[in-house]
């Protein structure tokens, strides 16, 4: 772990990717030699070596692809974080470490999408057309924001699921018992958002703003693969209904993604839609057939990394994201990648022989869209950037071996799709961008405007209450004055006047008057006979 992140820092400072190559080669060798974690916080994972191998190939490839590119520090630094985060996620058994790995993937993918500047044509996604009120063109900054906002829904969900479960069952995932329904639903949501399953698919498409090596890594072994791998990790503790939910969402995404891929003109967008499709297959089977899902992750990972690098080779020599021709060696790789995906090559056969029958439809679509790339004109370019991607397609087939089931060859019926027209609805990705670029932003806009309006109104009311305070102060002042006058002027003056009047009278006069009054009263009493 430390080596991976140290390599990222080294590459950031050196603006070169040598540390990335050295670190991934060392980690791969160590893992293949049987090295494993010695702390309870981590647990061995078979995927760790797979990720290291793919990263090594992509790092080597990037030395050619990114030569002369701007922001090499940014690119290499974040690539290292991407790799390190995925390894951390794979090996983590402590919930906080798993979360750090998961979030590190979000962070690195967001940053890597920003590698190209907004004004750089290579960083754009889309044809610039306008449909359904959306301009079909996304800059890297727009793509990065879409990506991070979408995956953050999953990260927040996972945060709650892991934290609440850890609070009840302890920090080590391997010791967890069954999850509650709410936690399970949140885990599914997290996996779906990360793996770009419906309805979260579109962030993956616009993530193509990133340079091709990033796409190769993101689509093959890191980031999106974290979704189904999360399901594999937590599968034993998820309730039964979770498998059904994963199947429905995964199968729907598999078909929809395949159809989207058929409609794309940009090859990277085609491969992105293909990734969503294959992740759909993996998600659909992850909880019911974990072993099947594992082989699919390997096969798809090797194939997709190679396919992206092959397409990138064409982009690199054409200096265009819609290359008009492909190097011959890239076309060979695309063919091998296709054969791996549909299950004809040995590793693919291992993955597909036991796959459900409906996945043949996905394979047929694969033949259809990748066949279109194969129809493109070939050129001669032998820059050695082909070596890493060809190695990824060939080497695994010597490690794993199986003969394909004959039924898999039915996939080639999809070749007919190579010559089919491009449907607008597929090209427009079933208009999913409308949800992300119009509906959700509009809802959000209404939300913040409502909050801002209420806030402003209350604020204004509070401020306009200042005159009321002044009125209250004035009223109190008048009342205070009146009481003051009454007490200090009125009463005092009255007492003083009475006192002066009393002081002005003679005492003998009072005595004389009192005597007369007393005599008068006695006379009255006597006259009336009231005197006892």
């Amino acid at each position: 772990m430390a080596l991976a992140f140290a390599a990222a820092l080294t590459d950031l400072l050196a603006a070169r990717g040598y540390a990335a190559v050295a670190a991934s080669a060392f980690i791969l060798t160590s893992l293949l030699a049987g090295a494993g974690p010695t702390t309870p916080y981590l647990k061995p994972s078979g995927f760790a070596a797979f990720v290291a191998g793919v990263y090594l190939a992509i790092a080597l490839y990037s030395h050619f692809y990114m030569r002369g590119a701007e922001r090499p520090r940014w690119f290499w630094g974040w690539m290292g974080v991407f790799f390190g985060s995925m390894e951390l996620f794979l090996l983590a058994d402590h919930w906080v470490l798993l979360l750090l790995g998961w979030a590190g993937l979000d962070l690195a993918s967001w940053a890597l999408i920003l590698t190209y500047r907004d004004g750089d044509e290579m960083g754009l996604v889309g044809d610039g057309g306008r449909a359904a009120g959306v301009t079909w063109l996304w800059t890297p900054s727009a793509s990065a924001l879409r990506a991070v906002v979408t995956v953050e829904v999953g990260t927040a969900s996972l945060l709650i699921a892991l934290a609440t479960t850890a609070a009840q069952q302890g920090p080590f995932i391997s010791s967890w018992g069954p999850l509650g329904d709410v936690a399970a639903a949140l885990v599914l949501l997290a996996a779906f958002a990360k793996a770009a399953q419906l309805p979260f698919t579109d962030w993956l498409m616009t993530a193509m703003s990133a340079p091709t090596p990033v796409s190769a890594l993101l689509h093959s072994s890191t980031m999106v693969k974290a979704g189904p791998i999360l399901l594999l990790k937590l599968g034993p503790v998820l309730p039964h209904w979770a498998a059904e939910a994963a199947f429905v969402v995964g199968a729907a995404t598999a078909i929809v993604g395949g159809l989207m891929a058929l409609g794309q003109r940009e090859p990277k967008l085609m491969l992105a839609a293909s990734t969503a499709s294959y992740l759909g297959v993996i998600t659909a089977v992850a909880l019911e057939s974990p072993k099947e899902a594992t082989w699919l992750i390997y096969a798809h990972g090797f194939a997709k990394a190679a396919l992206f690098m092959a397409v990138g080779h064409a982009i690199h020599i054409n200096h265009s994201r819609t290359p008009s021709s492909y190097p011959l060696i890239a076309k060979v790789a695309i063919l091998l990648g296709m054969l791996m995906l549909v299950g004809v090559l040995p590793l693919g056969a291992l993955a597909k022989n036991e796959a459900p029958l409906w996945t043949l439809a996905v394979s047929a679509l694969t033949v259809g869209y990748l066949g279109r790339l194969l129809r493109s004109p070939a050129t001669q370019d032998w820059e050695p950037m082909w070596a890493p991607y060809l190695a990824l397609l060939i080497a695994p087939n010597f490690i794993y071996f199986a003969l394909p089931s004959p039924i898999l060859f039915l996939s080639f019926a999809g070749a007919a799709l190579v010559f089919a027209g491009k449907w607008e609805v597929f090209k427009r990705r079933f208009y999913l961008p409308v949800v992300f670029d119009r509906v959700v932003p509009q809802l959000f806009r209404w939300g913040w405007r409502a909050a801002a309006t209420v806030d402003k109104a209350v604020d204004k009311a509070l401020q306009s209450s200042a005159p009321l305070w002044r009125l209250a102060v004035d009223a109190v002042t008048v009342l205070d004055w009146a009481i003051d006058v009454a007490l200090h002027d009125g009463l005092v003056a009255g007492v003083r006047r009475a006192s002066e009047r009393v002081a002005g009278l003679r005492l003998d006069y009072y005595l004389y008057m009192a005597g007369v009054a007393a005599a008068f009263l006695i006379a009255v009493f006597l006259a009336l006979g009231l005197w006892p």
């Binding site: 979360l99 829904v153 329904d181 806030d455």
Partner: protein, 425 residues
């Protein structure tokens, strides 16, 4: 023993702060350096007063992050300040008041007697009020008065609640019904949570930026410590308080989107983060402390870095509009570190958010609200970063000491993540 340390630290830092009124920055730095003495663990009594009781003071494991962050950020902001204050034409005594303001943070946490906590709150209000009154932006005197009145309302409600409860020491604090609610509402007013937040965007945005970089990240957040500390004896409805915290997080996050002014956007984001802190402090059980402390620390450094960044733009580009905040690769690096930490996507804030999430009950609608709160508090950060990023790249001059302080604050949530296992274990 701690009472002697307390008195020594108070005498030294207080004297240096007073000296800083005339001598400026060096004395203020000395004053804040002396404040590290307060971090010596221990507890003590400064004496007993009639009616008020024992003047207890203490420093422990739980108080350490709050006090340490206050002092470190006080120092960082002081080091950042000279070019900014030159830009404003501010006299030397600013630094003395700044040091006293930081000292008030220390007192707010170190005092165990709640009447003295109130006095510390008063010191913090008076010092910050003065700085806004004299050196703020816009209608600064109106804003200063607005801040003063609201802050006093909060402090006095707290005082009345504590006074009626009759239990002035935090350890034995017990309050019921309206009395306990007075204490809570007082603390919430001072935090600026939804419904009692109307003063906050004005005060935090219009304060001189070095003050904003302490008001928003530290001052309001310290109240979360007292909510966490007093909740056991107060009998507050913690489940409702948790929901209120989440709602505040959503509400504050939505408010950020109305702003074009960098500082006001950050001030609104403080409302959102105070919501998360209230939720963290109201979780029952041990995990509540970790959630509160980690969120406080992560938010404090990230928010301070971003306020200081806003100040750098004011000095260098003479703008507060985030859409005009151009960047070079160094500023971009600081921006990425700051906004990502503020979002809680990584760094120590992520772990803080995770601990808050541990308090979510297994009820679908609360879980949905929690997801919304966690997403909303992350999304606005990336939205703000995107605004800044789209302003474009440019070469311009800015003072190195300002940038160094920004980078140090922005990087700290990530460095602390490396140290987190040591602290938690």
């Amino acid at each position: 023993m701690y009472s002697e340390v307390f008195l020594l630290a108070t005498a030294a830092s207080g004297a240096a702060a007073v000296a800083a009124l005339r001598l400026g920055l060096p004395a203020a730095l000395v004053s804040m350096a002396f404040m590290f003495l307060f971090l010596t663990p221990g507890e003590g009594s400064l004496g007993v007063l009639p009616y008020v009781g024992e003047i207890a003071v203490a420093m422990d494991y739980y108080k350490l992050p709050f006090v340490a962050v206050s002092i470190v950020l006080g120092l960082l902001v002081a080091l950042y300040s000279p070019p900014y204050l030159r830009h404003l034409g501010v006299p030397q005594w600013y630094y003395g008041v700044h040091a006293l303001y930081v000292l008030s943070f220390v007192y707010i946490i170190v005092f165990e007697n709640l009447i003295f906590v109130f006095l510390a709150l008063e010191l913090s209000i008076i010092t910050s009020f003065l700085l806004i009154w004299y050196f703020g932006y816009g209608n600064r005197r109106f804003v200063a008065l607005l801040y003063f009145v609201w802050a006093q309302v909060g402090s006095i409600l707290f005082l009345i609640g504590v006074a009626i409860s009759g239990a002035f020491l935090a350890d034995v604090f017990r309050a019921y019904g309206v009395v306990s609610l007075l204490v809570l509402v007082g603390l919430l007013v001072k935090m600026g949570t939804a419904g009692v937040h109307f003063w906050l965007p004005y005060a935090h945005a219009e304060a001189p930026t070095p003050l904003s970089a302490l008001l928003s990240p530290v001052h309001v957040g310290l109240m979360a410590y007292w909510i966490w500390r007093l909740k056991t004896g107060a009998g507050w409805p913690l489940d409702l308080l948790f929901l209120y915290g989440l709602l505040t997080a959503v509400y504050g996050s939505l408010l950020v989107f109305r702003e074009v002014d960098f500082k006001r956007a950050l001030a609104d984001s403080t409302v959102a983060n105070m919501g998360l802190l209230v939720a963290a402090a109201s979780i029952p059980g041990e995990i509540s402390y970790a959630a509160t402390a980690l969120l406080f620390v992560g938010h404090a450094f990230a928010k301070a870095a971003l306020f200081m960044l806003a100040g750098l733009y004011i000095v260098s580009l003479h703008t507060r509009i985030i859409g005009e905040a151009k960047w070079d690769r160094y500023i971009l690096a600081a921006g990425v570190l700051g906004f990502v930490a503020l979002a809680g996507l990584f760094g120590i804030t992520l772990v803080g958010k995770a601990y808050v999430a541990a308090g979510v009950p297994p009820v679908p609608h609360v879980a949905a609200l929690a997801v919304l709160a966690l997403v909303a508090t992350a999304v606005y950060s990336f939205y703000l970063f995107n605004q800044m990023y789209r302003a474009g790249e440019a070469k311009f001059e800015y003072p190195a000491e300002m940038y160094t302080a920004i980078l140090a604050a922005a990087a700290t949530p990530y460095l602390l993540l490396l140290l987190l296992p040591l602290w938690l274990l």
